[in-house]
Symmetry: C2
Subunit: 279 residues, 2 copies
Amino acid sequence: MKVLLADKAGFCFGVKRAINTAFEAASRGRVYCLGPLIHNPQEVGRLRDAGVETIDDIDRLQPGDSLIIRSHGVPPDVLVRAQERGLKIIDLTCPFVSKAQKHAELMKQEQYQVVVVGEKHHPEVRSILGYAGDEGVAVESPDEVEELKLKSRVGVVAQTTQSYGNFSGIVLKLLRFSKELKVFNTICNSTAERQEAARTLARAADVVLVVGGRNSANTTRLASVCRQEGKPTHHIEVADEIRPEWITGAGTVGVTAGASTPDWIVRSVLDRLRELGGG
Amino acid sequence: MKVLLADKAGFCFGVKRAINTAFEAASRGRVYCLGPLIHNPQEVGRLRDAGVETIDDIDRLQPGDSLIIRSHGVPPDVLVRAQERGLKIIDLTCPFVSKAQKHAELMKQEQYQVVVVGEKHHPEVRSILGYAGDEGVAVESPDEVEELKLKSRVGVVAQTTQSYGNFSGIVLKLLRFSKELKVFNTICNSTAERQEAARTLARAADVVLVVGGRNSANTTRLASVCRQEGKPTHHIEVADEIRPEWITGAGTVGVTAGASTPDWIVRSVLDRLRELGGG
């Protein structure tokens, strides 16, 4: 059995920066993070052990406490509250998410109705929507467009981890219902590259293991990309979940990992496959 | 044999305005028109008889001469030359074309590379391109997009008579190759309505006659819309061209006409069909 690792897999630039800065900050004393820093429970566990405490609400923090804004960003009112509370803010919003927030804010000022292509309840989408004003709306699929009451001037940004196919499908629908459409393709390169690499991997493999948090949107999307190629695909968080029967008889096992999946987990998956006969 | 006339056919608002104003101006003395006022040789003949002379170049005109700018508009340098020459300008640029010109000019000022979706050599497209600056480019089909060297910020307008399908196909391709895309759907309602009515007509008819100038882009497009519905379609300029064998055995003959086709030609086509047994 051959084991293939996708060309592009694992931590992206924004996540790497967030993790490194968080560990560094924690080495100087306790820090708080609003929501898990990344959507990977195992790595969040390591961060907790290092002194990064995940909190749900900033109200119980004291002036001078250090607060991490995670890579998904937060709506502007949360930032204001944190500042008013006198917290030391460590802003680790991914620069690509910041860009989407800025485009949303500018388009709102230019009187566009802002559409954010992405999952309504994902923290990144909620953070971008925070900059989009009262008329801003999140759209998950092309079908939803017909239900919307749209202004004639529509401005579009994307959750950075969207698939291009869904994004362009929604833009095409919006084009039909608007007179003026301004579109920023804010899907980040890492996302596009990882999805493309996953597609290539799935074509070459008999079965695919996609490694990453079950709450990770981009990891989940990698799994659907592989399934679209018609290959049996398993989304796992850790090596222990691999069932030997998944890979029995497989000539080639493909492995890929989301942008929030740390290397040490990917390595342990590769080790486990080696134990099961992979090379 | 039944004869069906399309719900929306013939002169659009912009053409009607241009024709009426031209006849009115000619009643007060000779007027010149830069290029044929509309793409309909028969109506242009009537205009000539009334005193509207079609010219190719303004250089032989004298100060004080009256110059009609036709509904397709002209690039701004032509307007400037006409003003410098002291001509009396009667600007009959269709308001929808003016809108496309203005959007092109503003986007050029905002540093977008302007793409005009339309036929490269059509006077309307050339008039809009005149406002789009040196980087402006006309694109006729989605396939051409890959050949273009595009900036990351692209602004799009459409020839007012484009089909929505071609327009959206080109926008979709541009979306793939740009980071920021601003799109004004400047296809005019008359165009969309006439194409939709032609489609409905073709579905109900056994054979379709599309009446209008052979040099008329929008008439030619009505004919392709009808052909796409799988019905035998004949593009004619005048009633005399109808060949009886086209309609032999047809239960229903559909008739439609371009936005530059005058009523009197449509009526003569209907009269001729009546002579041939239509009702």
